[in-house]
């Protein structure tokens, strides 16, 4: 994680402390952003139930999971990042395959990710 490694870079203590303070604020803002992200995923879960919108929902879920995967490791959320990455990869495989889509596992993975996100909101 970024904060844990900063002292290894040979920065002076003041700059390291400044960076750590900046990253702590970013981590707080990330946790604060989770409720909006959860709400957005829940809307997409509903669209996933409709065959008319399931493919576009999958693409949007994938895009959001990709962003989450990119940020989680840098804000101290490796488990959430791993779940997001798994979801992203599964959707890539699914979309490259046959139609009609079977989105059952997308549903399962997204619910696991949502559980993890909600735990972090509750714990904040």
């Amino acid at each position: 994680m970024l904060g844990e490694q900063t002292m290894m870079q040979g920065m002076d203590a003041d700059k390291a402390a400044l960076l750590e303070a900046g990253l702590a604020k970013i981590r707080e803002r990330f946790i604060a952003s989770l409720e909006d992200r959860i709400e957005s995923f829940c809307t997409l879960l509903e669209r996933l139930e409709d065959p008319e919108t399931e493919e576009s929902a999958c693409m949007e879920i994938r895009a959001q999971a990709h962003k989450l995967h990119g940020i989680c490791g840098s804000v101290g959320q490796p488990r959430m990042g791993a779940l997001a990455a798994q979801l992203e990869q599964h959707i890539d495989t699914l979309l490259a395959g046959e139609r009609p889509l079977n989105t059952d596992f997308v549903d399962d993975l997204l619910n696991a990710l949502l559980d993890e996100m909600e735990q972090n909101v509750d714990g904040a």
Binding site: Q9, L19, H66
Partner: protein, 317 residues
Amino acid sequence: MKILAVDDDELIREILSATLEAHGYTDVTLAESGEDALQKIAASPTPFEGFMFDIQMPGMDGTELCQHVRQMEHYKNSPVIMITAMNNKEYVDRAFMAGATDYVTKPFDTTELMTRIRLADRLQSEARKAAAAAASAPAATAAAPKPPFKDPVTVKDVRGVVKSAALDNYVMLMLEQKQFAMAAFAIRVPELEAVHAGSDIEEFTYVVTDVAEVISDCLVGAQAFLSYLGGGVFVCVGAKNKLPTADSLHDEFVMMLNDPDLVYCEEVATGFTAQIGEIAAPKLFEKRGDLRFLDRAVEKLNEVSSSPRSGGGRFAA
């Protein structure tokens, strides 16, 4: 170094900015999209000296942005570090083909991130010093001798052809992500030495570019990248199971080399031959990121060469 960092995620932009600033890179401009980046490049009173582009963004993605930047005269050789959270080879291939010179992966590892930035900074500083020296001594530059044959020349606008440093970075990324079994082989066109001796550097670069294009055409479907190392030697890297063997490639390659519509050499009348080395692959005990198999590819080429090696090695430059 004046840096433009582009990512559609606000928190990632802030992490980049905070980390770069803490390490002394205080001149950092942030952009939220490819379109925003192009506007900021156009509006900047002084040029940027390095770029960081997220590969996957809505609208114009990082690869397309890289293509746009590379078309700008001032930024043809600027360091472009791609930011990627993905292990999709197609995206990474496209980014390097578009002119990316390096990459960092999300989530960021500070050590890796700063190593990449410092490397880009060093390259940029060296380029700046060289440009300043050339500008301050125009007469000397005009009279400067032609670069020696063993030095690489820059091949532009050929599919899959990248500079040697970018090829190394690409291979490291592929090995790190364990995308597929990689391998490499090298090709020498000995007559390029005579072309070099008998023509100016511009003409020689044209011929090298034509040869690179023929190699690229021969490797279509092999997901391969190649680089001109100097000394008439090219190294090609790709999926082990898709690279052609020396025997299967040789005849077609030589035939194409001698097609004047494909390789046009005005100054020096010559027929072309080719020496093609056997394929070299990473060994089981070699760690990820170990690039020695690229050197072995050149060694295997030297084994088949009848003439003394003239390339000066993979790192001749």
